[in-house]
Point group: C2
Chain length 365, copies 2
């Protein structure tokens, strides 16, 4: 028995081959195999078709079906950076929502420049995706206009636009930063600075506004703000440098996300500024493993997985029942207190070099 005659099936099974084997028409086979249409066919025929399909190892050709119906059961997801755990967690949520609904996920990494966005959308739309999930949106995004113009159901996740042109699933960024500031204020901090994310994206803008609003309602001044131009560690470090240069008496920093906080932490470590001893620090996102840094970062937990799932659910809803108005879902966030924030020393320290001995604050450094 050679390899060749193991499977005497020369070509793949199609509706036609099954129909031929049974002496019925291929449309009958199609109906028997389609749960929606099956009721129109005699049970006996259905049974024979099912068995023959099984025997031939038939698998429905989604490509051919897509061509005929115009639906691909494909969802495109565009993220700014696949290697960023925040976005891969969102992807995980999307995947979870799609699984079992016979939708598949086409993933595209927009890359750092974000310049090739239109090209990427083009490629996805060219594949006739039924819908798009964008995790890359800026506050007023031409890519969104493009998708909307194409009449492709589109859902934004994590970042939303200023105006609700497309359905969006976001975290409560404003309130989240409020929680962080309330926490720091409660610990006695008054001179709190903010490292903001890019103003061009909603998270950067809303968290900055949250900072300002919370500072004002706490009766504090909200002037110590440096906005980073990207959510990168290096940007966090240079923002921290700027903060300490302008306002050396700062006792706490609320960063716009965890990566910026990490950058600030690096800078502080480099400069020998103790955290939390001299300066408290908070992040935003509670990304995976951020609890393991030294010191463990106090941060705002954002339900990335749930956001991804909600976005996918919303998109599927829009695909299956079109014509609905855009909807905004704002998921709650929570404060996670860890070790990077603590109460201020009794009074204000004007010279931070007089803080606790750095070898106690930065052991093994």
């Amino acid at each position: 028995m050679t390899l060749m005659d193991e499977k005497p099936r020369p070509k793949a099974a199609t509706l036609q081959t099954i129909a031929d084997a049974l002496g019925v028409h291929r449309s009958t086979v199609a109906r028997a195999l389609n749960a929606e249409e099956r009721h129109r066919i005699t049970p006996d025929v259905v049974k024979r078709v099912t068995e023959e399909a099984e025997r031939q190892g038939y698998r429905r050709d989604i490509i051919a079906a897509s061509l005929r119906t115009g639906k691909s059961r494909l969802v495109g997801v565009i993220v700014p950076d696949l290697a960023n755990p925040v976005f891969s967690t969102i992807l995980d949520g999307v995947s979870a929502a799609l699984t079992g609904r016979s939708y598949s996920m086409l993933v595209a990494d927009a890359g750092v420049p974000l310049g090739k966005q239109a090209e990427i959308v083009d490629a996805l739309v060219g594949r006739r995706v039924d819908g798009l999930i964008l995790a890359t949106a800026m506050r007023n995004d031409p890519t969104v206009s493009f998708c909307l113009g194409l009449k492709v159901p589109t859902v934004l996740v994590n970042r939303a636009e200023d105006t609700l042109r497309a359905s969006s699933v976001v975290a409560d960024d404003h309130r989240g930063m409020g929680l962080a500031i309330a926490h720091l204020a409660e610990l006695g901090h008054r001179r709190i600075a903010h490292i903001g994310g890019p103003e061009a994206v909603s998270t950067g803008c809303l968290r900055r506004q949250g900072f300002q609003d919370a500072m004002v309602s706490a009766g504090l001044g909200a002037t110590r703000i440096v906005s980073a131009d990207s959510y990168a560690r290096s940007a966090g470090a240079s923002a921290a440098r700027q903060i300490f240069a302008c306002w050396p008496d700062t006792t706490a920093i609320a960063a716009g996300n965890d990566l910026l906080a990490l950058g600030a932490l690096e800078y502080m470590r480099e400069r020998g500024i103790g955290c939390p001893g001299e300066v408290s620090l908070t992040g935003f996102n509670d990304m995976p493993f951020i609890d393991l840094v030294d010191p463990a970062l106090t941060t705002i937990r954002v339900p990335q997985h749930e956001m991804g799932k909600a976005a996918a659910d919303m998109l599927l809803g829009a695909i299956e029942g079109p014509g609905r108005p855009p909807e905004l879902q704002r998921l709650p966030v929570t404060l996670v207190v860890r070790s990077s924030s603590c109460a201020t020393a009794s009074g204000p320290r004007e010279d931070r070099r007089e803080g606790l001995p750095s070898d106690l604050l930065l052991p093994r450094a």
Copy 2:
């Protein structure tokens, strides 16, 4: 001017609509638009076709083309866990290799049970993917058999099978663990234990073998081995418990990956065992942000991004020039020394509670 008459194009542009506008046959249009066939057409016609296509906003329907040609320019990628940074970094590499080659990436999360694998492959193959990248392979994997039986070009990444049935891109796991052991031995450690990954996957097995071989060539005993049944933090913690229960005089642990090391670290912290003061620890993978844990983990750097890229390149090679024998690419790894490993104290300590004061080892704990 209402929205409606902005674009008087009722239906999408197709080859036929362009052909009609120009009074040529649609096959001529197809050839004029296809770089491979263009040379057979009069330059003037090509020009007119190109312009008309532009005017109508024509976009080739990949679905229809796929149906005719049987090629989808789609690659399926199956990962065990999207939320794990190791795999999302691999994905990033795959994406990088695919970008600009007009291939797209269908991502599927096999999920923890790994039971639905066949189902997932089915779904992807049903979409007529041109090839598959599996990051989920066990040492002898029925899913691989399934893919091979389907004659779908398949490349394994990160994990390989025992026999080279499918092309694979892996890291040099054996040598990597050798580097870790050599490092620990050089620091004076002699009673080194190993937390192994699952024996069912190549990384678990090869790193364990690497441990044994390196210990033997260093003239040390390679008996202190506990294999975890998964690459989870919790598994690392319970393996560590077992190690300290069986061999309390252990001075170093080489973990099968970073997550297992983190689990061990948690356990040690809980028990008040200082790292690296009392016990040195090494990980494997150098996953993102692992440098930020306390203490920063000494580990083996695995080029995940490059592995993903290499796997995608290899797959594209196999798709475009089929019939080649399977190929194994083993990427080099490097030792990254950080703070979780240090030289042993002068002599062996039988009772680890007599180590350095724990408040110095675990500040702010």
